[in-house]
Amino acid sequence: MGSIDPLVLLAAIMMASTPILLAALGEMVVERAGVLNLGVEGMMITGAIVGFVAAYESGSPTLGFVTAALGGALISLLFGVLTQFLMSNQVATGLALTLFGLGLSSLIGQSYSGLRAPLTPDLHIPVLSDLPVVGRVLFQHDAMVYVALALVVGVWAFLKFTRAGLILRAVGESHDAAHALGYRVKLVRLCAIAFGGALAGLGGAYLSLVRVPSWTDGMTAGAGWIALALVVFASWKAFRVLAGAYLFGGISVLQLNLQAAGSKVPADLLSMSPFLATILVLVIISARKKGATAAPAMLGRVFHASQ
């Protein structure tokens, strides 16, 4: 396999992992508030197309990402209003959101197929980017890679150290007790849902603006579902989500390189290896420390203030 450059490979991993990292991190916050939103795939692809359209029409990738976050949040609020105020079933509504997002993106994207997105520049950080090896692997990426990493730390600190984070966890743990203490369960959940939607939108836009970078129908290709699974296997912990996302991204890049290098392993086996490896590793992690029971107690349960 002499044709694979390990430095390029390592650098590519950070890029490949960013979309599902963003989406999974957002979904983790949603689930910590006790809401199960299965519409991640739909929110991602909505973000991918609105981000692409905005960036293409304006020529600014930044505007593209902002629009994607707003678009993701907006479509997630549709889910929020249906499940929180109209008490619809979260599983069914989430699935519907995915189907809706796929259809809507396809409609919006009809005349954008095959166009190229404006270039998202890589950052050049003085000193760090010029370091040998490390600089090329870690410090020569576009800003979104670092935004995603900062969000991991931010979400972790928010949940662990802030009062708002404590309230969010409390709502996910027992909405009746939180309500009895006077917290606004629905408002907290709506905010969490919108945050999750915004992050899923960013993840989608990263696909259409950086990773590919153009629009194709159904281009998320199941990334949203992987993000959902990651949250569960990561036992609802931010840094485990990061580890899982990088593992998945890493093996995806590796198997692509192996295929390109003409490996003797059948391509089908290589294509499914990221899924297999991620699930395997995370199952081992969560089995070891009774991780399966770390689920927020109210996950997916409908809250109705029965006064």
């Binding site: 743990e173 009746d176 007790a177 009895a180 203490l181 927020p296």
Partner: protein
């Protein structure tokens, strides 16, 4: 505002009314509480006590009427407003978060909590000052019921409340824990805190409270001084009629029916309890009462006896036959029936009709199926017999189980098992949340069943109930069962010790966890 003694009232409730569709929960309720007074709110389930305190705590808005706190009008828009005005509340079903730590739980009940480290120090200080030691770093899900209540009380005390509302605070405590709680409440009282105390336990109210307001069907029907009024008089004022006290007819005890020998069962659920080395025997015609604080293995024991959880074959025997490996239906067939605690979802399917629910456990012994097909007519007749025999108040057997009140559904659930003439009947919390007259009827039915030769295991947290109907008493403590002893020989202190007392809680571990 001045109350009847001319002393300034701290909280005055004037004509509060709250109606829900179809029912007036509170109808022009008025009373007042002085500073340093422990005031009891008495009433049966559905009398409107909970709605009333929810209005005082800002969770529910009254339709009409006014409240005054001190000299100012008091109209809390939400619990936060109530808390900042000095009103704190300890809930009946604890408002705690199992997966969070003690300190986090306390912080969630405060308006502007200090930093976690400072708060932890404060929790330690206040909890020791009131004789309720607590470790702020522990996870609430691992605490005993008594300790969980401490968390709620400390949460209230940290805000220096003027009024503390306590909704059924002693229903989950051992007698010793109740003593500790009362000491705390008396200390608060001496510091001038007014306490609004809701309880069914009239003897407790007599020993603790200075005044009482009695509610019936949402209206104030009287006030009394609990120190000078007998428990029986208070009970009759609550119910509005004379009470019937269940009578056991002494029956000759027969052969051993149910025998449990060194039953071990590891816990299935995360916060469940493992059963350890449980042994007891119940004779025909005998009622074995099993007491203990909630969460010490009651649900697990019922499951092991009913067949929901399987055990070693010889651990459970019916008349000498090992049944430990038989499931619930196989056990029903040979006469072991059970009525679990949770009415909706365990004892009955909430959205199914009473007829369907009658079928669910009665199909085998009442022969309600033929070749896999249901015999609807026989089933409905069976449901009607239960409804008639146990005075279940419902429009008919087609009604959904969910539509019945707690007491009526409980009568149905117990009646369904009793009418199948069991050899052994196991009940868990047979009168939980049931009003006094329905409770008396259920207890009488259990006694009558025992008199007809069945063996009965009654698991309950209501000690008065166990003293009333059981021949022998044993207590569950952390999955172990004490040696059963004749009920008549026991004092309340001995029972407390059998239940594990509060001794081990008194000296809660002082070491700091990271």
């Amino acid at each position: 505002m001045r109350d009847r003694d001319g002393v300034t009232a701290l909280l005055t409730i004037d004509g509060l009314t709250k109606a829900y569709p179809g029912v007036v929960a509170n109808d022009s309720v008025s009373f007042s509480v002085r500073a340093g007074e422990v005031h009891a709110l008495l009433g049966e389930n559905g009398a409107g006590k909970s709605t009333l305190v929810k209005m005082i705590y800002g969770l529910v808005k009254p339709d009409s009427g006014a409240m005054r706190l001190g000299d100012a009008a008091y109209t809390p828009a939400n619990p936060q407003a109530a808390r900042s005005a000095g009103v704190a509340m300890v809930f009946q079903h604890f408002s705690l978060f199992d997966a969070l730590s003690v300190a986090e739980n306390v912080a969630l009940g405060m308006e502007s909590p200090p930093k976690m480290r400072a708060l932890s120090a404060q929790i330690r200080k206040v909890s020791e000052a009131y004789g309720l030691p607590l470790d702020p770093a522990r996870t609430v899900g691992d605490l005993s019921a008594g300790e969980r209540q401490r968390v709620e009380i400390i949460r209230c005390l940290l805000q220096d409340p003027k009024i503390l509302i306590m909704d059924e605070p002693t229903s989950v405590l051992t007698p010793q824990e109740v003593e500790i709680l009362f000491k705390t409440l008396r200390k608060l009282q001496s510091e001038g805190t007014a306490i609004l105390y809701i309880s069914h336990k009239l003897e407790e109210i007599r020993s603790l409270c200075d005044g009482a307001t009695i509610l019936r069907l949402g209206k104030v029907v009287g006030t009394c001084d609990p120190k000078t009024t007998s428990a029986r008089d208070m009970a009759e004022a609550m119910v509005g009629s004379a009470l019937h006290v269940p009578q056991a007819s002494p029956s000759p005890k027969g052969a051993i029916k149910l025998e449990v020998t060194t039953l071990d069962l590891p816990a299935k659920a995360e916060f469940g309890t493992s059963l350890r080395d449980i042994s007891f025997r119940v004779k025909a015609g005998e009622v074995l009462g099993i007491g203990g604080v909630a969460g010490n293995g009651q649900d697990e024991l019922l499951a092991a006896l009913s067949g929901e959880a399987l055990s070693a074959p010889h651990a459970v025997k019916l008349g000498g036959t090992p049944v430990g490996q038989l499931g619930p239906n196989a056990r029903r067939k040979i006469g072991i029936l059970a009525a679990p605690e949770e009415r909706l979802g365990h004892a009955a399917a909430p959205d199914m009709s009473l007829t369907e629910n009658a079928l669910l456990t009665g199909a085998i012994r009442e022969k309600l199926t033929r070749n896999g097909f249901l015999k609807w007519r026989d089933t409905e007749a069976f449901a009607r017999r239960i409804i008639a025999g146990f005075d279940v108040r419902t429009p008919g057997p087609d009604n959904a189980a969910r539509a019945l009140s707690g007491g009526n559904l409980q009568k149905f659930v117990i009646g369904r098992e009793v009418l199948q003439n069991p050899e052994v009947l196991i009940v868990n919390q047979p009168t939980w949340g049931v009003d006094a007259s329905a409770a008396a009827a259920i207890r009488q039915a259990l006694l009558d069943l025992a008199a007809s030769g069945a063996a009965i295991v009654c698991i309950s947290q209501d000690l008065d109930e166990l003293m009333e109907i059981s021949d022998r008493f044993a207590a569950l403590n952390e999955g172990r069962l004490s040696v059963p002893r004749p009920t008549r020989e026991l004092t309340i202190d001995e029972i407390g010790l059998m239940m594990g007392g509060a001794g081990d809680m008194d000296v809660a571990a002082p070491e700091v966890l990271a």
